[in-house]
């Protein structure tokens, strides 16, 4: 897994590449999220369009990042879910928890 961080209109966008799995060390997302929070940016968008695979540990990492940001008074949203990832989120009712978008500009504009 590789994560690149960029800032657009006051939103931290984390572009995540590769696998988010138990074997790959999925904690990297949480660390990057914390970096953004420590830097004072509480609106975070996870771009998952280039995620090739995710397992339940990876889903747990997304949830953990979400609660971390929410507890700090921020917002964490998801961008470009793959079909399989959306199915995994839907089955566990997490589509009711996360805001997710296909379009980056729309996602960035949604942060209040």
């Amino acid at each position: 897994m590789k994560i690149e961080s960029r800032s657009v209109n006051g939103v931290t966008i984390l572009d995540i590449h590769g696998k988010i799995t138990m074997g790959e060390g999925s904690r990297g997302i949480r660390d990057k999220v914390r970096e953004s929070l420590d830097g004072g940016v509480k609106n975070i968008l996870l771009n998952l369009g280039d995620v090739s695979y995710i397992d339940s540990a990876g889903i747990g990492e997304l949830v953990s990042s979400f609660t971390t940001v929410t507890n700090q008074g921020g917002q964490l949203k998801l961008l470009k879910l793959t079909e399989k990832l959306e199915q995994l989120l839907a089955i566990t009712k997490l589509t009711t928890v996360f805001d997710f978008f296909d379009d980056e500009a729309e996602a960035v504009g949604s942060f209040s």
Binding site: A57, G60, E61, L88, I91, T92
Partner: protein
């Protein structure tokens, strides 16, 4: 295996069995094996994906929870390919667990927990899942996917 399984056995099974020390580095290998064997049985791409995920989750549980990442302890995976189905056994050296102790991933109080979804996914994607504490010690999970029932991620049947 029980009587119910015995009576359904038509044709013959091809078997492949591997055993390895408890290390998460084997997850990709086991998943690739699952993909290849699922293809040979005749599952479509979606079904192969979900079978692979189920195998990965089961082996992760065996390595992580069953054997507590102790590389001296073995995880065994056996694939039984039947003309009409694939049966997969995942065995560890742990003490097993009570299914009733596994929290329901869909309960509102569990929705935001970081863990506890692996077995839920396996149950969602496979047609049958059961566990057995083995008399010689250890725990075995048996999961079955039938070729004519390729449910794909609807997740509502349990």
């Amino acid at each position: 295996m029980g009587d119910e399984v015995e009576k359904e056995n038509t044709g013959h099974a091809r078997e492949l069995e591997i055993s390895f020390g408890s290390h998460l580095g084997y997850l990709d290998l086991v998943q690739e094996l699952s993909d290849k064997i699922s293809l040979l049985v005749g599952f479509d791409e979606d079904a192969r994906y979900w079978i692979g995920l189920s195998v990965r989750e089961s082996v992760t549980n065996a390595v992580h929870h069953g054997n507590e990442l102790d590389e001296e302890k073995k995880v065994g995976v056996r694939f039984e390919s039947w003309p009409d189905r694939l049966v997969i056994y995942v065995q560890d050296e742990g003490e097993g667990f009570e299914e009733s102790d596994v929290p329901n991933a869909l309960d509102p109080e569990n929705l935001l927990k970081p863990s506890g979804r692996g077995i839920f996914y396996v149950r969602s994607f496979m047609d049958e899942v059961c566990y057995e504490i083995l008399p010689e010690g250890g725990c075995e999970m048996r999961m079955e996917k039938r070729l004519n029932n390729q449910k794909q991620g609807d997740g509502n049947e349990n």
